[in-house]
Each structure stands twice: as structure tokens, then as C-alpha cells.
């Protein structure tokens, strides 16, 4: 029951952050709301038994990616645009409450699909990773290299012209 309550609170935080991004007009506030959502998602990962992925989520998404997005927002001029105009937040709040009640009802009524218990340890994950997925690992490393070279070429060409 405690896990259900924690899950519902985290789901509330994630969906609330998403709705804030959707209805907000300030880019910087939206990006920080994205950070809150990603951290709560890391909490859900840890809750359903994947602590290594929770750590990766915090380090890569909420650390590196969002810092890049904030840096990019600072380059833009502060134009507040969003196609969705919402005068009052009541619509979103009502939708959120209905959704969470729905979650709770489903959680209490069905409960068939059980999670396999226990935490996935980092050792388990890395053994699987380097035994069976060594070629995709190398390919994804090449993808990172291509991304870095592409960004460097884009940044260099700006300086030359």
C-alpha cells in the first residue's frame, strides 16, 4: 500500500510537470518543470526495481540534457508563445484528479500483472550488456562519436563565416 501511495505521488508530480510544460508560456520555467518530471521518473524507476537506470536518468537526462536545453534557451530572445491558451488551471487540475482516481481504481480492481520482485543489480545488467549486446554497444559508441563530430562541425562553421 505504501508503494502505491508513493507511486501515485510520483505520477502526480510527473503529470503535473508535463501539464505545466504544456500550458506554460515561459521557456525557462518549462525546462525546470521538465527537470522535476525527469527526477520523479527516476523515482519511479527506482520504485519498480531498476536503480541503475534511475541513476542514469538523473545523470544523463536531468543533468546533461537539461543543462544543454537551458543554455540554448538563453540564446533565444524571450518570446512567450504557446498555441494552447489556458486562462485558469482548473481544467488541467480536474483532468489530473480524474486521471489519478482512474489509476487508483485500476490499481485496486485489477492487479493481475505483477512485477517480478527484487532490484536489478548493476552487475547483472552489465554482465548481460557485455555478453549479449557487445556489438550494439560499439555501434552506439560510434553514434556518440558521430554526434560529437557533427556538433563540432556545426559550431566551427559558424566561426569561419
Amino acid at each position: 500500500m505504501l508503494e502505491t501511495i508513493v507511486f501515485l505521488v510520483l505520477a502526480l508530480i510527473i503529470t503535473g510537470g508535463g501539464f505545466y510544460i504544456l500550458f506554460s508560456k515561459e521557456p525557462v520555467y518549462s525546462v525546470f518543470s521538465l527537470v522535476v518530471s525527469l527526477l520523479a521518473m527516476a523515482g519511479i524507476f527506482a520504485l519498480i526495481g531498476a536503480p541503475f537506470l534511475a541513476a542514469l536518468q538523473i545523470i544523463i537526462y536531468a543533468g546533461a540534457g537539461v543543462v544543454m536545453i537551458v543554455m540554448a534557451v538563453m540564446f533565444y530572445k524571450n518570446e512567450r508563445n504557446s498555441l494552447l491558451k489556458l486562462k485558469k488551471g482548473w481544467f488541467g487540475a480536474i483532468l489530473l484528479v480524474v486521471f489519478l482516481l482512474n489509476l487508483l481504481a485500476i490499481d485496486l480492481s485489477f492487479g493481475k500483472m505483477k512485477l517480478s520482485g527484487g532490484q536489478t543489480s548493476t552487475k547483472e545488467l552489465s554482465l548481460e550488456f557485455f555478453k549479449n549486446y557487445i556489438y550494439p554497444f560499439e555501434l552506439i559508441s560510434i553514434l556518440i562519436l558521430v554526434g560529437v563530430v557533427g556538433v563540432l562541425i556545426l559550431a566551427k562553421r559558424k566561426e569561419e563565416e
Partner: protein, 100 residues
């Protein structure tokens, strides 16, 4: 224990929110934020089914998705900043013509 259907429903709703952000925002940065949000929802679904099935393939695929998302954000943001600095193109309404 947490039941599975609620996680599937949560992932579905988060994916829809990400798509809505991608559609309704005008600036490129916020569109990238929407794409990140959708990818994150799919990550949740991968981890969940990995835990249900009891094997680790889904969690490994999440690592790949994280990498691809990081590269995508880096390249996309550099392109968006270059578009703004060189052509003063900030929102997608400015991209009406295909001529360079």
C-alpha cells in the same frame, strides 16, 4: 506491489503529453523538450515490461534510448541555435519556404 495497468496508463498519458507539447509549441527548443518527454514515457514502458518478463533486454534498450536522446538533443539544439543566429529563425512559423 504496484499493479501494471496503472504504469501502462501513466506511460500512455505521458506519451500523449509529449506529443501535445511537440505539436503545440512553436519554438524548436520546446519541441525538443516534447520529444524528450515522449522518449521518457517509452523508457518507463520498457523498464516495466522488462521487470514483468523478468529479463533484462528492456533495461538495456533503455540505455540505448538514453544515448540516442542525448545525441539528438545535442545535434538538434546546435542546429536550432545556428538557425537563430544566422537566419533569425526562431519558431517553426518562420520556416514556410523550402528555399535555403
Amino acid at each position: 506491489m504496484i499493479c501494471g495497468y496503472s504504469i501502462i496508463l501513466l506511460s500512455f498519458l505521458l506519451f500523449l503529453i509529449g506529443i501535445a507539447i511537440f505539436i503545440s509549441k512553436k519554438s524548436f527548443i520546446m519541441m525538443l523538450v516534447g520529444a524528450e518527454f515522449s522518449l521518457n514515457a517509452i523508457n518507463l514502458l520498457f523498464v516495466f515490461f522488462s521487470k514483468v518478463k523478468g529479463n533484462l533486454d528492456g533495461q538495456i534498450f533503455v540505455i540505448f534510448t538514453l544515448t540516442v536522446a542525448a545525441v539528438e538533443v545535442a545535434v538538434g539544439i546546435s542546429i536550432a541555435v545556428l538557425l537563430y543566429k544566422k537566419h533569425k529563425i526562431e519558431s517553426r512559423d518562420d520556416l514556410k519556404e523550402l528555399k535555403g
